[in-house]
């Protein structure tokens, strides 16, 4: 499942909803991304996430389908927020549920790595010296590339 929303999400409620009645699930892996108050040596007061409505949902659904193709998953959920967020706020939630931990943990890592390089989101940080757009990191591209040649299980 994919959700792109301005509102916050309740992690416990999302896990409960994802697993309700599905007793083949043996484990759930999660990634929760938070807004940090520092970027390098600069203090960040807040950030605004912009996205491309339509393409965002399409890309997230493609990435999720790819995870289900590579791993035997019982359920998954990606929630990504947009709009203005402050330090400590939740940005993104990835949940993957499977019979065993290997598939859940690996697919969760895959989803967040691919999401960062494929989903059309951009971050504008508010700093003491004005607003600035966050540049893409080579490390994120490297993390995503690591999965290109790997298959799931």
């Amino acid at each position: 499942m994919i959700r792109v929303q301005r509102e916050d999400f309740d992690i416990g409620a999302e896990i409960a909803a994802l697993t309700a009645g599905r007793h083949a699930i043996g484990g759930i892996a999660s990634f929760i991304g938070l807004v940090r108050d520092v970027a390098g040596d600069t203090t960040v007061g807040a950030m605004t996430l912009e996205h491309y409505p339509g393409m965002t949902e399409t890309k997230l659904a493609e990435i999720e389908a790819e995870a289900h193709r590579r791993w035997r998953l019982d359920a998954s959920l990606i929630i990504h927020r947009y709009g203005r967020l402050e330090p400590g706020d939740r940005i993104v939630l990835v949940l993957t549920a499977a019979a065993h931990r290997e598939a859940a943990l690996a697919s969760c890592g895959f989803l967040i790595d691919w999401l960062k390089t494929q989903a059309p989101f951009w971050k504008l940080e508010e700093t003491g010296s004005g607003d600035r757009w966050v540049a893409a990191r080579d490390a994120d591209e490297d993390a995503a590339r690591r999965w290109r040649d790997e298959q799931g299980q």
């Binding site: 996205h51 491309y52 967040i112 989903a119 757009w133 540049a135 893409a136």
Partner: protein
């Protein structure tokens, strides 16, 4: 054709979207970018370094040799930074 601009491409160009009729010689994404560079200072500034410009046609990533059609939705944006 519908053109969309996001993030700092939007702020440098000064608009989020526009509807344009392509000149007949503009047949692919690369030609579109070169044509846009000549449309004013904002466009020239935003598109001066094409290594940091990504393009989606009809909401899918494409390369600069991708052929364009009249009804396409073309989006220009910087490398993405979600998650």
């Amino acid at each position: 054709m519908k053109l969309l601009y996001f993030a700092w491409l939007r702020t440098k160009i000064g608009i989020a979207e526009e509807q344009i009729d392509l000149p007949p010689e503009v047949r692919d994404v690369g030609a579109l970018l070169r044509w846009l560079q000549g449309r004013g200072a904002g466009f020239a500034e935003a598109l001066k370094d094409l290594s940091v410009v990504r393009v989606a046609v009809n909401q899918d990533y494409v390369k600069f040799d991708h052929k364009l059609r009249p009804g396409d939705e073309v989006a220009l944006f910087p490398p993405v930074t979600g998650g």
